[in-house]
Amino acid sequence: MSDRTVVPPEDEEELPAVGSAAAVPGVPTDERIFRRAGLSGYVDDFLSRLRTGELGSLPVIFGLVVIVIVFESLNSVFLHADNLVSIAQQIPSTGIIATGVVLVLLLGEIDLSIGSVSGAAAAILAVLNVNQGLNPVLAIILALAGGAAIGLLHGLVFTKLGVPSFVVTLAGLLIWQGLQLRILGGTGSINLPPDGPLVKFGQTDNAFMLNTLAYVLSAVVAVLLFLSMAREAARRRAAGLRARPVAEIAVRSALLFVLLAVVVYVLSRDRGVPWTLVVFLALVVVVDFVLRRTRYGRAVYAIGGNIEAARRAGLPVDRIRISIFILTSTLAALGGLIGAFYQGAVDQATGSGDTLVNSIAAAVIGGTSLFGGRGKATAALLGMLVIGAISNGLLLESLSSSLRYMITGTVLVASVVIDSLARRGRQSAGR
């Protein structure tokens, strides 16, 4: 019944057919036929991606190198271990918020309230823990629940009442900042107890991982990556599909280990690896896994790509959109709490200022498209490294906040321009 019709001659300019005459009998070919074998295949692949606007992480890594070179030449303190540890402590708060921004951007929506939500959550925590004397863990849970409730409200207004996400969350930006001021009350500032567990976790000496543990963890992560990729490759081979060679998997895992070990080594020359950074990294890994491997993640990409198609495929579009708004707000709350641990205090300025712009900029710089459906969880990490390096470098130069704001804003615009240009490149290349 499988009718192997001969390819009509008029189709000569078409790409090779699935299961065409070139196929070895019994071995399904197809697939990454665009990539030739060996090293030259990778180079080809890489060049064609550059041409067609599938830039991936390249511009970010390139930009990061440039930024590091510039700041290091301006001030040689920049690459000192203690400054790098400071960056590692400054990154997680906004980075966790940016992870939520990646999610909402994947839907093709936006959340402008993240800064205010992070501030409000920090205020809830401080009041419950310090003023009401509540157990810190319980206070954290309640603060996160507050963030989730806010996200649920945004999601409901957005999906059920049809108010654009831009407007809902713009209103949220004001409302939740108002809530934060009200919760903080007259003094407008609450100090977390400096010897309490929260500040110890975020700031002082307990806040760092044992170096041996950090090395062991790096090795474990690399081994896990190797095992999961090797297993996937074995299953693909068993199913007769093209799979990555074991050598490639081994090299990738080894590179990851080297990268992590170098980071640990550099940070260990000063205070070590901050736990908050570990929390951020773990979160990125979890979100990445959910986006790539679960039906839920697939549905998020589908909604961002073509919401009508998602609807016709029977996906629960509204429920997924609401859940993403909840996740984004909850992550914003978590980022706010981590920031409060690091600062050791919550005041009226917590979560205001450049938190909003920095977290959106991080997500976009990392390669998340503002047009929806394109991006990865790792964008939050990559983008946050860039943003963290810039903020820190500008602080070292002791520039005024006016200049800092202008530079950060310019970087955001530049990253969006790259996104738009890449999009145009994809369109003209038919991707």
């Binding site: 499988s2 078409e14 699935v18 199913a239 589908a302 790509g305 198609a309 495929a313 929806g372 994809r426």
Partner: protein
């Protein structure tokens, strides 16, 4: 649900798998369909043609459950059924490929094929299995897709149509409705899609092909059903008529006596304006 096995039934001779009779559909003051009847057998391609506003899309929406009929009888495999929702149509075994295809450009071919019905393994998506089945299906259809892991955005119009049609087959339908599948396609791509339509017929499916392009219709259809102003405007067997007869039925030129005589001589199965008898 590999969508591989479909009993190839003796072509176009059996009883209709889907038959509609006395279908009425009103939108406000507009009578979009009045007393329309229509049937499809397994293993045949029925072309549904008509001028703009003749009711083709409305009839498709009735069959697909998007806009249920006001009254009339629908029988599927001999049983009277109602099709109140798109889901009901799919459950019966009626798959519809709408003109806009509803593909996600940012996802690859496998992800689009299995969107909303991903194969799971331990709670996670089983990419290996989905990819293998996708390759199987596309190979059976001799579909020409460069790689099942390319994003749909990089496919040509014809290839996108092929992906959309292949996706409709995953639910193992008995009837597939194709809404203008060759509109906006080049010559080569049109030929590719028509090849695919013939392969669907060989698999024993009943196919409803909506098209403006009579050349395509004559190239692939077994029967042609003409709708005109919301009514049956004639029914022809391909091979017994030429394009002018069909054009005449579409435009209503058969309403005059001369054309009717000419049409009778050309073995027209059912002249315009008459038939409600089945």
């Amino acid at each position: 649900m590999t969508a591989t096995v479909q009993e190839p039934s003796p072509a176009a001779t059996g009883t209709p798998v889907l038959s509609l009779s006395g279908i009425n559909k009103r939108f406000g003051a507009v009578r979009a369909l009045s007393d329309v009847q229509f049937e499809v057998r397994l293993g045949e391609v029925v072309a549904l043609v008509g001028d703009n506003g003749a009711g083709k899309s409305t009839l498709v929406k009735v069959i697909a459950g998007v806009a249920p009929a006001d009254d009339g009888e629908i029988r599927f495999e001999g049983h009277a059924v109602t099709i109140p929702t798109p889901h009901a149509a799919q459950d019966l075994g009626i798959a519809t490929v709408f003109q806009d295809l509803a593909l996600c450009d940012n996802l690859d071919v496998v992800a689009n094929l299995y969107l909303g019905r991903e194969v799971l393994r331990g709670g996670l998506m089983n990419e290996v299995e989905m990819e293998r089945r996708s390759l199987d299906l596309l190979r059976q259809l001799a579909a020409k897709i460069p790689s099942v892991r390319t994003r749909v955005a990089s496919l040509s119009g014809g290839q996108r149509q092929v992906v959309a049609i292949s996706r409709s087959l995953l639910g193992e339908p008995k009837v597939v409705i194709l809404d203008e599948p060759t509109a906006a396609l080049g010559v080569a791509q049109t030929a590719e899609v028509l090849n695919l339509v013939e392969r669907l017929r060989e698999r024993g499916l009943g196919i409803v092909l909506i098209s403006h392009n009579l050349a395509d219709v004559f190239a692939v259809a077994d029967r042609i059903v003409v709708l005109r102003l919301g009514r049956n405007g004639g029914e022809f067997t391909v091979g017994e008529v030429d394009q002018e007869d069909v054009v005449a039925a579409i435009t209503g030129a058969t309403d005059n006596v001369v054309a009717e005589r000419a049409a009778r001589r050309a073995h027209v199965a059912r002249p315009a304006g008459e038939g409600t008898e089945s």
